[in-house]
């Protein structure tokens, strides 16, 4: 097929659950490609020699090769190619911000002058992973002969799972210590079912188990065992303890009844299944007007979850304009389609409550954009006298977290920055303690699943080298 012909194939859009229907269920919104759709979309790939897409992938998947396999109808070949570099393809195909990564430099998108027309690499990755899972026979990667080295991974989120997958394949013994009762970290407590079905995460964890990774649940490292104690049994340690305490704005009324951090709101709804209360025991407030403060993916997840929990009005309150919103366009579009009301260039001043302490409203002020700030985005400035009150009965604060404090608190030799993030060597992910590595949100602050996985990959490589060069006493 000639380049010209490939460019003439219109992008194959992914089918979605209708907005009017999906706000009443927890099911996934995009429905994925059929095999025919996948092959057609794969034909749009120009198989560029300079592979700009690979440079855009934090874990370096050989994208043209796997897409080539899909075009040929060799879906098995495609998934094997992806799994050479990515241990969680069904997850990444869904939650990676491809439009800022692999799909941004895609030649097809460049020629057609919009990233929206780039090859849908993420959807194809998702297709290959789903195809394999649904086929019932998941291929096991080859495992190197046993090295006799033992690895402890603290935290079973995206970074930790990546390290586990990489190091088990290299022949090490791997144990994941998870503080919660389920593995997956933000994939299970944070990202909602309608964006990432929990059975997919469970499946990925089971795949790792079948390769020999041991999972220990309810294991709060820093409390039940220290880093020093882990070294008595393990040769190298990875810390991927992720997001910690939620940030609040420091305004009046943040402890009123009905004010949630996004972490709490999403954990109740997702990990604890509060949408199924009272069949599941954990409750969540069922309210009719919910305001979510923030403009990131977590804010979108919260606002959309509120709708599914029965809110009649779900508002996003964001102090900048839509251009500055850190959320993915896809998430913003989904939220809008579902009826989330966007109040942009508006900043909360105080949350108002009644006698019993319940939220009844929020006073906000209009903002305008001034000069660019340190982040390069135009700084929002309040417009004096523009205050007004929004009627709400719950507020979700989705403005980020600080890194989890538990391990650093009891490990003084572990160097952290002033926000509490663990300081690591940029090349290797090694911390200030020899043999201890870290990655993901505990290093980056709030970032993305794929960046955490990229950090996990980098650390796994360095940990392997460290253990294989380590002198045996």
């Amino acid at each position: 097929m000639k380049t010209k012909e490939r460019l003439q194939i219109p992008p194959v859009g992914m089918q979605q659950q209708a907005a009017s229907e999906r706000i009443h269920n927890q099911n996934e919104v995009p429905l994925g490609f059929t095999p025919e759709e996948a092959r057609l979309e794969a034909l749009r790939c120009l198989q560029c020699k300079n592979v700009p897409c690979i440079a855009g992938c934090p874990v370096g998947i050989d994208i043209p090769s796997f897409i080539g396999f899909i075009a040929e109808g060799n879906f098995q070949g495609a998934i094997l190619k992806i799994k050479e570099k990515n241990v969680l393809p069904a997850v990444c195909g869904r939650v990676c911000p491809q439009e800022e990564q692999c799909q941004l430099p895609c030649t097809v998108g460049k020629i057609l002058k919009t990233t929206e027309k780039s090859v849908s690499i993420g959807t194809l990755e998702r297709f290959a992973a789903d195809w394999e899972r649904n086929s019932g026979s998941v291929s096991k990667p080859k495992i190197a002969s046993k090295t006799g080295k033992r690895v402890a991974i603290v935290g079973g989120g995206p970074a930790g799972l990546t390290v586990a997958g990489d190091l088990i394949k290299l022949g090490h013994e791997v144990t994941v210590f998870e503080a919660l009762h389920k593995a997956g970290g933000v994939l299970v407590y944070g990202i909602p079912e309608f964006r990432l079905p929990k059975k997919i995460v469970k499946n990925e964890v089971e795949n790792l188990q079948s390769l020999g990774v041991e999972f220990k649940y309810n294991y709060v490292i820093g409390k039940i065992e220290s880093i020093d104690e882990l070294f008595q049994e393990y040769d190298s340690i990875f810390i991927g303890t992720g997001a910690g305490l939620p940030r609040f704005m420091g305004i009046e009324g943040e402890n009123l009844l009905g004010v949630y951090s996004a972490n709490e709101y999403l954990t109740r709804a997702n990990l604890m299944r509060a949408f199924d209360f009272p069949n599941a025991d954990t409750p969540i407030l069922n309210v009719s007007r919910v305001a979510t403060i923030g403009g990131g993916n977590v804010a979108m997840d919260s606002a959309r979850t509120a709708l599914r929990l029965g809110a009649e009005h779900s508002l996003i309150i964001y102090r900048r304009s839509e251009v500055e919103m850190p959320a993915r366009n896809e998430e913003i579009e989904h939220a809008k389609d579902e009826g989330v009301e966007f109040h942009l260039l508006v900043n909360p001043i105080r949350i108002i409550g009644n006698e019993e302490g319940w939220v009844t409203g929020m006073e906000v002020i209009k903002m305008e954009l001034g000069e660019p700030d340190a982040s390069g985005r135009r700084r929002p400035v309040p417009i004096p006298g523009s205050e007004f009150i929004v009627d709400v009965d719950a507020v979700i604060v989705a403005i980020g977290n600080s890194p989890n404090p538990l391990v650093a608190k009891v490990t003084p030799e572990l160097k952290v920055n002033r926000w509490g993030g663990i300081i690591v060597d940029e090349e290797t992910g090694e911390t200030s303690i020899k043999g201890v590595y870290a990655g993901g949100d505990i290093v980056l602050g709030a970032a993305t699943v794929i960046l955490a996985m990229g950090e996990g990959r980098r650390a796994a490589k360095a940990m392997h080298e460290y253990m294989m060069n380590e002198k045996t006493d």
Partner: protein, 283 residues
């Protein structure tokens, strides 16, 4: 023996159950003042329970639970030999144990359970311990004998006068103060309202006062922020900054309100559970 297995169970007061649970790692590690998060079944909620005691040799911890909601009723209905679904811990910052002189340890109702290990540690550190235990009536006291063993003086107070002195724990404390007793620290654990009243009293006399808070929690590991309270106007998290705080700095009224956030839900869940239990028993 299986991890999280209930080895023994006893009803120690109306609606109050003591469990000895096999969980050797926590039994070895726990320190006074720490708690665990438990779940009873796959769809269960995560609730915090303070570790009342531990036996590192046997590998057991003691949990004391008052049946007030669905989860605690369900826990009370679990039998010896059954395993809890999850136990995570030991969580929270351990009590700061120090020789201070005379320490008054005040326990209200089931709050005596978390108070016991702290009193024991304070006694071991060489403090003179005056214990005040309070309850509505005589049959509601728990761990009285254990507390006597680690106390130099013991005062019992009941609302109805059915045992010890008639009155609240605050009355008994006020009497100690009026008698001119030197008090270097008060440790008060019990219902939130009791801890509030004690803190208001001791503030007038500048007596340092430690309280242990039992807020709503989910993960309990410093992630969700559901347990937040105001300490001197700043947000603190009970699961990692606590559970113990300076009673004079706690915003008690805010905490009391927050504790009631899910009152309606709690009724729904409990009623459904009781109905279900009834149907099972009838069948």
């Amino acid at each position: 023996m299986n991890n999280y297995e209930i080895l023994s169970k006893a009803n120690i007061a109306p609606q109050v159950t003591r469990f000895e649970i096999y969980v050797p790692k926590i039994a070895r590690k726990r320190q006074a003042g720490q708690f665990v998060i438990i779940r009873t079944w796959e769809g269960g909620e995560r609730i915090p329970l303070t570790i009342a005691d531990a036996n590192p040799e046997k590998g057991t911890i003691t949990l004391i639970s008052q049946s007030v909601g669905k989860t605690t009723f369900e826990l009370a209905n679990m039998q010896v030999g059954q395993c809890l679904k999850d136990i995570a811990g030991p969580l929270g910052t351990p009590t700061h144990i120090e020789k201070l002189g005379t320490v008054v340890c005040i326990g209200g109702g089931v709050g005596t359970a978390p108070l016991y290990p702290i009193t024991e540690a304070m006694k071991k550190a060489g403090n003179h311990i005056i214990t005040i235990l309070g309850a509505r009536s005589k049959d509601l006291f728990i761990l009285e004998k254990e507390m006597r063993n680690v106390s130099d003086e013991m005062i019992i107070a009941t609302d109805d006068g059915s045992y010890g002195e008639k009155g609240f724990v605050t009355t008994a404390l006020q009497k100690l103060i009026d008698d001119g007793r030197q008090i270097d620290q008060v440790i008060a654990i019990g219902p939130t309202i009791m801890m509030k009243m004690i803190s208001l009293l001791t503030r007038d006399y500048n007596i340092p006062t430690v309280v242990s808070l039992n807020t709503i929690m989910i993960d309990g590991t410093g992630m969700c922020g559901g347990c937040r309270i105001s300490i001197n106007g700043a947000i603190k998290f009970v699961c990692v900054d606590g559970p113990e705080f300076d009673g004079h700095q706690v915003n008690w009224d805010e905490m009391l309100k927050r504790m009631g956030t899910y009152k309606k839900h709690e009724c729904v869940a409990l009623n459904q559970y009781k109905k279900h239990r009834y149907e099972v028993e009838v069948a």
